[in-house]
Symmetry: C2
Subunit: 401 residues, 2 copies
């Protein structure tokens, strides 16, 4: 049995990021930037007012002394002249500070009468002026490559005057469920049959992680069917198989694909649920074989497929994030396998996260997995722990799954 970390390292080592595509700015949200984005202009382009008021020369400003208002400088409409001694220009937030002026008299500190204004409080030089380039300067790095673009980043890219973005192509992930006993949802279920849940759960997980899933038709438990389905899954960034529980998990996938040139590692991973995993190369297409059990398949997908998708997407890759939490119940010592217990997550009175393992951990219980908030990680040989002990959890909501 190999440790979880080693299996993940070996998967990530052979994957590389997809190429770039150009998308329109509004399509850039949640995509991964493929090239560093630099500002195409300086923002603000010139000194601007941070408030509504009057632009003037600080040296002129004395309480009760009138200044002549010679024009206005609203945002977008710079005053065409300059401010001389004894003069002021009406200005609004974002309006360009006219040449000659060196401070802003706040509206609420000003008494206006006819075409004159007099300070009720004298401003110091430089007050309420946003200097050119306060936000960013032309040529400055706005967003580094390898970042998944947030709504804020989209705003920043727009402000930097970019109508197009270069992002990594979404990784295309083939999903091949195998098994005689499974049928698609809504189809008649024969005696002993079950409805396929893995493929669509994995497809949703792939979408959540920014990939493009292709759900291949279910392959029966026979070599030809699997070989044919897998052939259709080539030229993808990754082919994921699940299942075939009726005939010794992965043996059949291995037997079916070996003649097609599959080079394969079979790993027993020191984890629970989800011990067996295959990983290999099908003539250039990486292949990840997950267990057929739906809970094991999803837990393995969280631990191995999400990091794989991140690598393929151009994101920094590594294990999925864990958060500290307080154990909500006593737990026995663990054996040599790393345990991923389905757990509810709640907040205690101090706002701390509390993780309580579900009482029944049977790996066939998809409903329990769906109702859980995360996976409580118990390292190999972890000693018995009492409620209140700090543990680490994989939080489903933070992964969008």
């Amino acid at each position: 049995m190999i440790p979880v970390e080693e299996a993940l390292d070996r998967i990530l080592a052979v994957l590389s990021p997809t190429g770039a595509e150009s998308v329109a700015l509004p399509e850039g949200w949640d995509r991964v930037l493929a090239r560093p984005l630099e500002a195409r202009l300086t923002q603000p382009p010139t000194d601007v007012s941070a408030m509504d008021g009057y632009a003037l020369r600080a040296a002129d400003a004395s309480v009760g002394i009138g200044l002549r208002v010679i024009g206005a400088s609203p945002a977008g409409h710079p005053f065409p002249g300059s401010v001389g001694p004894g003069e002021a220009v009406r200005i609004f937030t974002g309006g360009a500070v006219p040449p000659g002026a060196d401070t802003i008299l706040l509206q609420e500190d000003a008494a206006a009468e006819g075409d004159h204004v007099s300070p009720t409080e004298a401003p110091r030089p430089g007050r309420h002026i946003r200097r050119a380039g306060l936000d960013f300067r032309a040529g400055e790095l706005l967003i580094p490559a390898g970042r998944r673009l947030t709504a804020r980043d989209i705003g920043l890219a727009a402000a930097g005057n970019h109508p197009w973005l270069h992002v990594h192509r979404r990784p295309r992930i083939g999903i091949l469920a195998t098994g005689d006993e499974i049928v698609l949802p809504g189809e008649a279920v024969p005696e002993g049959g079950i409805v396929s849940s893995n493929a669509h759960a994995l497809a949703a997980l792939v979408r959540a992680a920014g990939g493009e899933p292709l759900v291949l038709p279910i392959a029966a438990d026979d070599r030809d069917a699997i070989a044919e389905a897998a052939e259709a899954g080539r030229r993808l960034d990754l082919l994921v198989t699940t299942g075939g529980a009726s005939v010794g998990e992965h043996d059949l996938v291995q037997a079916a694909l070996a003649p097609m040139g599959l080079k394969l590692d079979f790993w027993k991973i020191a984890m629970r649920p989800g011990k067996p995993l295959i990983f290999g190369d099908l003539r250039g297409t990486p292949l990840l074989g997950l267990p057929g059990n739906p809970v094991s398949a999803l837990v393995c997908a969280v631990l191995f497929l999400i990091p794989a998708l991140r690598r393929l997407s151009g994101l920094p890759a590594g294990p999925v994030e864990t958060r500290p939490a307080l154990l909500g119940a006593d737990m026995a010592a663990n054996d040599r396998r790393q345990d991923y217990l389905r757990a509810t997550l709640a907040e205690d009175a101090e706002g701390g996260l509390v993780a309580t393992p579900l009482p029944v951990q049977d790996s066939s219980m998809l409903s329990a997995l769906a109702h859980a908030g995360g996976l409580l990680v118990r390292p190999p040989h972890a000693p018995a722990a009492v409620a209140g002990t700090v543990v680490r959890v994989v939080e489903f909501s933070s992964l969008g799954v």
Copy 2:
């Protein structure tokens, strides 16, 4: 000035969830379920084996005593007969336990020879059997209405045999940026002009929160242009306006839309950034007017538009979630306005979250907002606080923005 909570309550009070639409299962991910989803079948449909081994009668099983293997029960292919005294059936994980058998002899506890098998360890009755309905029973509630469907839920809905799901229609949100000084990204920027960033940042935020954004053409700062643009935004679930900073923020939107039947509240909210907000009803379409400043617009969108989208989407609505964090730097006392400081988020050695306000909080700095991890919430009149004090933060990543 009204408190943030009151403004949010007043917005949520007038919004109601969109109607339902039927979507295919794979389209259900990240949508909000509009009707409770019940299981259409029992899972497992019958007692099944949790392991590979032999199904037999516990009363027959003694170490070293051979039992006749009369057939096999792989998943999907139930053994057609029953298990009598002295008999066993080869069984695989997920295979139906044949009538007569009441326990599973593990493969590793069995010695097989020809068509006989003998236990090397005798199993107790009921071992390694998953009872019919362990996961769920036909008619049982699988997923309640009002839940945003995760990848795990999609798997559960599939397992419950649902090819279709009834979900709330995505709320359609019109976004109307106003201002003489703004141009679309990539267009030539006139002197004093700036590139529109609000509309596309808000559109991305709407998508992150599950809505469907419609970015309306920018309206110049004149009544007719605003009225025309707003007319195009009717029959939407919500119309969001931003800006017009050149002429006293919202006065123009108010003046332009009043003749169209706009009933409006103008609120000064006791918060920073983003004091002014308008909210009203444009002949049946709710209208939310955000500040024109990009940082203020986005902060207000996080605090008011995301909850509004949740309400429209059929989710439980209320303020956006905050998390506890330790203050990373000393802070002065706060005034009467609730402060939302842009802050970096980091993890300390114990795994706790540390929030450190950015040194410059100028509300024009979109780059600072983009680089922040969240908003540090300082309630009105909060006393001075030293580093290490527990504060609450709005975490951007948890909101997908």
